[in-house]
Symmetry: C2
Subunit: 212 residues, 2 copies
DNA sequence: CTCATAAACTTAACACCGTTAAATAACTTT
DNA sequence: AAAGTTATTTAACGGTGTTAAGTTTATGAG
């Protein structure tokens, strides 16, 4: 039946219409500031129409977030080809920071808000969320760096080192997204800070003659 | 008149009563999850009574936050006596992380949410908020480290280095507060990560023979 | 062709939130 | 005792996400 396909296509079109309108508003004003009513208004639907296509506001936002995070996944996919683990680390950090700047709302949602760990999530686990893949990629890179003896001899725990490295990258982005407006700090360009912290970390982690 | 003093004392007592109840609820459930109505309920007042003592919910929360942040200020005050700048940096990082763990809600409010930069804040500026003092302390320490030639020769901008170092510390805390519940990361003890990132940063920043 | 059925939507409404306006009780001052 | 200030309550407003119930519209069956 061609009619059932047409319906599905129309439903998808409306879905996209909602997502596009929501995206534009969210990007401009942030997730919390935009109401369901305003999204409905811009597409000239009633507020409740959205709930036919999306379970609730969070689901809608997660969908946008998912779309955004594809760019990070793609970047990581390219970076995976880099043979040198330390060089790969630098590129990972760069891509990660870029993602945070390009998609601040999604970044905030993914990395700056505590995800409610309800039972549903625990059930649906193992599906390979993008954050999970990204972290696994970082750990794998760190593992390779360790096995190739590129890091200090006392650093044998890939998870520990990966978490420290992640924290460094996250710190730059998170601080920027949250506090860059504050005038009591003479902020340096984000790229400069990101480059410095990445270099300093790799430098500090790979050094051989470490003194406590 | 002794009566006016008594009134003031009673008013302060009610104020404290509200703050104590609010603190307990907030600590247990987070700032957003606790409503004004519930705070009022626990002290057996009507919800609107709170508004006689505090302008609004945010003011109340800021007051709690201010109280919390005193502990960080005190810690920094003690640390200021440490003569070695690099050692001071380590202690600053430790105190900062400790603060984040001890007062997660206040930390989130102070460092993980964008402060609305309205005109009022710009007017009331220069009052020396605690965050401001803390950052100034960090920059001063970094400045001293630079002038004592403890850092790499190419690092001459105290603000840049301070921001990178701050980002490192912030990254550890922020990641912990936001994502520690996520089960797809095999989290290492926060203290281990904090120690590693601090050492790695100082190590990476102070090294002389830096290769790009 | 008519009628039932399902999908896509709208209208009305609920429960909750922070907050304000108006009424009220309690206590001082005159 | 009257007037007035202070602290509190009751009632209500405007806003939010969301659900329930009704309404249109197009399709499929007899």
């Amino acid at each position: 039946m061609g009619v059932i396909e047409r319906r599905e296509r129309e439903r998808k079109a409306v879905r996209k219409k909602i997502l596009d309108a929501a995206r534009e508003l969210f990007v401009a004003e942030g997730y919390d500031a935009v109401t369901m009513r305003r999204i409905a208004e811009t597409i000239e639907y009633s507020p409740t129409a959205i709930y036919f296509h999306f379970k609730d506001k969070e689901t809608l936002i997660r969908e946008l977030c998912r779309e955004d995070s594809v760019s990070l996944a793609k970047a990581f996919h390219v970076i995976a080809k880099e043979p040198d683990p330390l060089e790969r680390l630098k590129k990972i950090a760069t891509a990660y920071v870029d993602f945070g700047i390009k998609h601040p709302n999604s970044y905030r949602l993914m990395f700056m808000t505590q995800s409610k760990l309800n039972q549903d999530d625990l059930v649906h686990m193992g599906h390979g969320k993008l954050e999970e893949d990204g972290y696994a990629f970082l750990v794998a890179t760190m593992s390779e760096a360790i096995s190739k003896k590129l890091l200090r001899e006392d650093l044998q725990d890939p998870d520990l080192v990966a978490q420290a490295f992640w924290a460094a990258g996250h710190g730059v982005v998170a601080l920027h997204l949250a506090k860059h407006g504050d005038p009591w700090v003479d902020w340096r360009p984000l790229q400069d800070t990101a480059t410095l912290i990445t270099e300093a970390m790799i430098n500090g982690l790979q050094r051989k003659d470490f003194q406590p």
